[in-house]
Symmetry: none
Subunit: 205 residues, 4 copies
């Protein structure tokens, strides 16, 4: 939460966040005027600045809250289910479920975040780091316990997993978020485990 917020009306704080997500989903970060966010939230322009330092702070707050949601869910899963296969499955499911419930939020997270200033991207990267580290821990544990095949570069695997999840969400958003994103969990999970090759053809090149 923004340092400023806390002492104030939490309901209004969240109303502004929700409004920001809605407006940014339609217009992107740069297209989202503070005035429109304020109107959407039902507050005056100036009120926004009682809860957020500036426009960038709104975006960062949106991201922080969302990412922490995903991460909290996943952390909980990791703690509860040290079984790497299950943990991976739950992580994908958690990601898809969280974003699948709120397409506007997904749009902001996937599409609009990546713009804006380098400073923001840096902050987003910081926020994602625990997520990435957790993913790597799952992978290492899986290799150690022998449920994943032995010799592969954990970072490359992590990028494949994250990239695949990301692109799956992107495709879902781009087609208008019409189908159930969570339903993609199993096929995506399966594809990540098996790859596209046949065991006996893999060393051909």
């Amino acid at each position: 939460m923004s340092a400023i917020a806390q002492r104030k009306d939490a309901a209004k704080y969240h109303a502004i966040l929700e409004a920001a997500i809605k407006v940014m989903a339609v217009s992107g970060y740069h297209g989202a005027q503070v005035a429109r966010i304020a109107r959407e939230a039902g507050v005056a322009d100036g009120t926004v600045y009682l809860y957020f330092k500036n426009k960038e702070d709104i975006l960062v707050s949106v991201l922080r809250e969302t990412i922490s949601q995903i991460i909290m869910l996943s952390t909980w899963l990791e703690g509860d289910h040290p079984e790497p296969l299950l943990a991976l499955h739950k992580l994908i499911e958690g990601h898809f479920t969280t974003l699948g419930r709120n397409p506007d939020l997904a749009l902001v997270l996937q599409v609009h975040v990546r713009q804006s200033d380098p400073a923001i991207r840096e902050q987003v990267a910081d926020m994602m780091r625990p997520y990435h580290r957790m993913l790597e821990r799952i992978l290492v544990l899986g290799q150690e316990t022998g449920v994943f095949r032995q010799p592969f570069d954990v970072r490359i695997a992590r990028r494949m997993i994250f990239g695949t999840i990301d692109e799956t969400v992107n495709a879902w958003i781009f087609t208008g978020a019409k189908y159930d994103l969570a339903a993609q969990t199993d096929p995506v999970y399966d594809m990540l485990l098996r790859g596209i090759g046949k065991g006996d053809k893999l060393s051909e090149i």
Copy 2:
């Protein structure tokens, strides 16, 4: 190429494009002032508008030229190497090589494109379509010729491949483009074929 260009000085056209890539890499699309692009290209502000309709046209042209480079390379590979495994390998290699040669361009393509107006994103999607379709053709052919394992959803596989490539480039950019991106070809290719699982553990969940 922009319709306006052609009849004029091609060198200047490309100088402006290069300058735009450089400036956008640093400041993003919205942060890139036309005046700075012009100065970087060594021309007057007004000259930019002799070669491009407006600022958006500059960005779209950068993307068009880059994407078409990647696609042309890949199309050529596809025609020459109908062998799906090889084609996939070459496609990844082509993607990494093209972007690996020009980190600024990669930054613009990966990060800054996704901002700006929906109209631009739509255009980018249109430009990427041939790429995606080609990828799917390779996958279908691979299934038919039996070099890929039989039952998997081609679209999910395509998203995994594209997402993995994308995320690999992102990671490379984010760490400062310090290592050789093309060197990622083999491990990424291998990871996509094998997945992370062990053959005998796959049906456990």
Copy 3:
């Protein structure tokens, strides 16, 4: 009044209008910079856009207010004085009095309106229509009641009257608005009624 205005500070709205008249009188429509109008009105540049949609809206508003002033005055006179001769006299007097009080306004109305985009001229023509129609009603009534000579084309008479008024104002402006414009009422009125000819010489050609 501009749709935007009303809910806001009416004094500021009029201050900007007055400033616009002053600046346009000196520099013409195209020469009048919004920044200079703002400074003249004692507000910030952006404030102008709280009261007017754009620069064109300022000009149109100036014209709308002035023309409606002239028309309101005249309409009132028409209602009150159905006597055509008197109505005509009052109409001329009203026109001269309104503009005579504010030479800058007259300058804008007479000289600078006619430039700018065709769209504006169209709007001005729309605004003038009631005025022209009223003039024609006076003429028709005068013919019917027999105070004007019978067979003349009402449109030609209307153009003579309007053209004469217009040119009288022009001449007054051009010589620096040094004399009392309203004092021209009687001689102009007289001239329009009598023409320049002698009764017995009129059919000579």
Copy 4:
């Protein structure tokens, strides 16, 4: 003719003038880009500046040539026909005929001249002065020879005549220049001589 012109290709000089009239008729003075005038004239942008000092010089030249046409015609008429009634009739006829032949020119003269900088308007006024003086000479002569009624202010009469002619041309332009302007000569001439009143009602107010 522009001082620059004379030594050069007179055909090209006139081509540019004609082009300027055409373009200004459509877009007005400020809307008429030099580049468009050049293209319409079939010359390069730079060539325009071999024949005219600058854009303003083009407009002034257009006006000078046109006005001098009208004046030359009228001067000739005045010299030839010292009979005031006939001279007035011919003057109106000349004015209507000259402009009636070239609606584009009329549009520029009537509508677009009045904009632009005060400097231009000053020059136009200078050019019109002989015309106005001639009109006054006709009026004075008419009074002296007794073909006009005796006591009226010559300047007011002049303004009525000029204003009526002007407004008649304006109305003709505004309705699309669809009818024969020269045909307005007789009714306008008649109206100016007789006025709108009846002899016995004139002193009522």
